[in-house]
Symmetry: none
Subunit: 539 residues, 2 copies
């Protein structure tokens, strides 16, 4: 039987300490629902003693009727020289009505003196009184021993006394925090082993990633006996982030024979990671372990031909176990085997010897020679392949565009675009402003298409990259533009190459939209709807 | 005495296997120069048997006259059933004239059967013959044991036999590769320990990050006796990347008492990381350990007040040790030492306490907050400093510009720009075509200025980079444009930031030209010359 390890998610609390992350109450609700379906055991929703947005979240979270996760509120031990029942911070945890309290206290003598400026004895009393008070109100209490590893290294006896106090007061969990993220795995192993010999309460680990060891430290603690792991989705969190649950969970479960969530829940990991990154408005690195779009992407020709023989030659797990998939990147470094794989993926009968295939390979070689790169542009490649096999229905044709830009002395630049399309026989003509020529074109293009393809409303561009190919000529040089688009569930990338950056951007943009519309029928509007959309209401 | 660990950088070879990374020969030269100044011991430049771009790099790398690093070329063991002297791949390594060869061979019996489809005996002979051949030509030989850990787990005896063969043939290093990135630190520890008992040759580690354990695995190998670490800057590499040298080096050196590079070189780590990300046109995550801009950034209110009392309360190392810095309040001294240095260089009396200086620092802070970065834009910084001290004479003022672009069906985009300047009292008005809006503006601007500043004829732009700053809004997002210019003797860089890519480009372009014209007087034209230039020849 695999040992159970409880997953404590703090994306909504510690995760929001990360630079650039800010979640509305609505965002938090959406993420909490996802976390629950992923099967985490605890969701730390915020710090009610610290801000009102968090209080609103706790008020509303019951609407969600979570199935798996217990919601917990964060707070500190009572202030020095006060009674717990007079402590606003502890009372807020009670007021928000959660079944679990997570409170942190000081383990490091240096911090007792420097940060809260009190005596070692008073700090022990603060820990004891606070846990006791919350337990007396019937809550499950998780005690977070802040800076535990630094404290242990500095004054081992005192650090151990603090957690013994928490245990004496009835804490259900003692969680050892590497708050500054500076510890190494072998230190974690040694210290957790000592702690396991000292207290009987279940132990947890809360790691940070300042040495790029957040995952390794979490695993080391579990191997030494910890049975709760605190972390965040995608490792969001202050400075370099928290222990990344998207790597910790599969490592524990697929590699170390622990049990955290069900196999089905694990298969939703990649989509949860992507979802949370979208809601948090954070770019998700392609190369993120397990869940990134490049985590099982193969570029080297040697690797690819081996992969085609047997996946496990260059893959450490089956990607589907975490809801991800294998991708083969077509690039100059690779051979024809990559293309064969790609076509098979699309369900096309790709025969190395037939005429279409040969033409397609020639075409791709020629395009790569011009500067195209399809390894980062799966969707453009798919359109090319479909086109070569006659499997591409074009949702629209471009007739023309115009861009006007002007700037006067200290005024900002004004940009306008006019786009004319032929949407399956119908001429559509629209104009829009933008923050630059590509943005203006994007806006005008959407105005042309949205009435016939309402699905476009959920699609947005998530990354835009310009690469100068031939540096000598610079602003006159050939450029490659890569556009990444997303509709929340999927993301896809397209490419354009030209010696005109606007033309390259336009080509990538058109590919992105064409790809998004694959298989989506045109919505025909009634005359009245058309009139209404044009502002010609019939009254 | 600290044990020495050799750093083997494979950014230019394995790093380019990462999705979205593609380096020109020029890029590789720039990165090699930086790696050398960082103090790495080996630079793996590419695979000469695999592509011609890599051969060109090896041909040109001697121009750099590297001081610290030995350049090495990558390749595989000889093909099955051939003689090493007939093996193109091995001979290419010899032809490119490097002092060190790095060749990989199979350790995993499963791969011998599946990937290269030969016998276990022939694979041993391939390893022996290849190492022997390269040694006989006088090269230092690093033997990369591909899939060593997977091989060991599957068939321990055979895996050990392969590296004993390499040792017998004279390999200078045996590097154990976790090619699929699937191993855990405790496995690395156990297996490296066994290897150390089996071979006498020095051992290296080559880790991948598929379990988010690339750094931990590298450290575990060193702790078990490895004295070479292979990795890449920023962890670039196939799938989830290679072991990240930007975390491995400081962990080894600051936390584990090993010695890799000098303390001064370590202080350049953050800037090398940033430089390589710029050249590779890869977004550098803010939260990257040690070197990211948020690695020592403090957001939590409690943390901040503690930090103000004592930095070590929430920082695991002093950021300056790796050339990074704390960010709490908008770092009040951000870049001030650079400013002092820069101003002294310009012969300006830079006094920290005077009003101009304070205003300038405020202005720079505000601009950095908006997304400006002056590290890569010395010329723009110099213009700012000169302006603050009243030492900037503007060669011209911009009155307005207009851009027109249009595209019809299958025609290329036509781009025209009209620029109106005030050149020291004289209105100059000109138009030009271009390969895109920025090129058209550049052309029109030069037409306006060249008659008065003939020196402009020798100046051209040598690099143009666009970086999206705020990824959520993409084509509507704020961008930073970096322009590098050269007049054959010197080169200089300028920056522009705006939510309109044309405006950002224009600002960087104007700075570039202004900088080029510093100290150059306007040439007044005689009436006849003016007429002649305007095509109104007097006959």
């Amino acid at each position: 039987m695999a040992t159970n390890v409880k997953i404590f998610d703090t994306t909504l609390r510690d995760g929001t300490q990360g630079e650039g992350i800010s979640l509305s109450v609505e965002d938090k609700m959406k993420i909490a629902r996802k976390l629950d379906s992923l099967g985490v055991h605890y969701i730390e929703g915020g710090w009610p003693g610290s801000n009102n947005k968090d209080i609103e979240f706790f008020t509303r979270v019951s609407e969600l009727q979570l199935k798996n996760a217990k919601v917990t509120a964060f707070g500190s031990t009572r202030r020095k020289d006060t009674l717990p029942e007079n402590d606003m911070n502890l009372n807020r945890i009670l007021e928000v009505g959660v079944p679990v309290a997570t409170i942190f206290g000081k383990s490091w003598d240096f911090h007792v003196f420097q940060a809260i400026q009190t005596t070692l004895e008073e700090n022990l009393a603060m820990i004891y009184d606070s846990v006791r008070y919350l337990k007396s109100k019937g809550l499950e209490v998780i005690y977070d021993a802040e800076h535990f590893f630094d404290g242990f290294k500095n004054n081992r006896d005192y650090a151990l006394q603090t957690i013994k106090k928490a245990e004496e007061a009835g804490a259900d969990w003692i969680v050892l925090c590497d708050t500054n993220g500076g510890s190494l795995p072998h230190e974690i192993t040694e210290i957790v082993t000592v702690v396991k010999q000292t207290v009987a309460a279940p132990i947890g680990i809360h790691a940070h990633n300042d040495c790029e060891l957040g995952v390794a430290n979490s695993l080391a603690a579990v191997a030494a006996g910890a049975t709760q792991v605190q972390g965040t989705i995608n490792g969001y969190g202050e400075r370099c982030g928290n222990g990344n649950l998207c790597s910790i969970i599969p490592n524990l479960q697929l590699k170390m024979n622990y049990s955290c969530i069900s196999a089905e829940q694990l298969q939703s990991l990649a989509s949860v990671a992507r979802y949370v990154s979208e809601i948090a408005n954070m770019h998700m690195p392609m190369n993120q372990p397990y869940v990134g779009s490049a985590a099982f992407a193969h570029k080297g020709g040697i690797h690819v031909s081996a992969i085609l023989r047997n996946s496990s030659t260059y893959e450490h797990i089956t990607p589907e176990l975490v809801g991800n998939k294998q991708r083969v990147l077509v690039s100059e470094l690779a051979g024809q085997s990559n293309l064969v794989f790609k076509a098979q993926e699309l369900g096309l009968d790709f025969d190395n010897d037939n005429q279409q295939t040969k033409q397609l390979i020639e075409q791709i070689k020629e395009m790569e020679h011009q500067g195209y790169q399809f390894e980062g542009a799966d969707a453009s490649l798919e359109l090319l392949i479909r086109n070569a096999y006659g499997k591409l229905e074009e949702a629209f044709k471009v007739e023309s565009f115009k861009i006007l830009m002007f700037k006067n002395e200290n005024q900002p630049v004004v940009t306008e675009a006019i786009v004319k399309l032929n949407v399956q026989g119908e001429t559509v003509y629209n104009a829009a402003e933008g923050n630059g020529p590509v943005n203006a074109l994007d806006n005008a293009l959407r105005k042309c298409l949205q009435q016939h393809y309402p699905a476009l409303q959920n699609i947005h561009l998530s990354d835009y990259k310009v690469r100068v190919l031939d540096e000598k000529d610079t602003t006159a040089a050939k450029v490659r533009v890569l556009i990444e688009s997303t509709d929340f569930n999927n993301s896809w990338s397209t490419v354009g190459v030209s010696d005109n950056v606007i033309e390259a951007s336009w080509d990538a943009l058109i590919d992105s939209i064409r790809y998004a519309l694959l298989g989506k029928p045109k919505v025909e509007l009634h005359v009245e709807e058309q009139r209404e959309r044009l502002g010609l209401v019939n009254h």
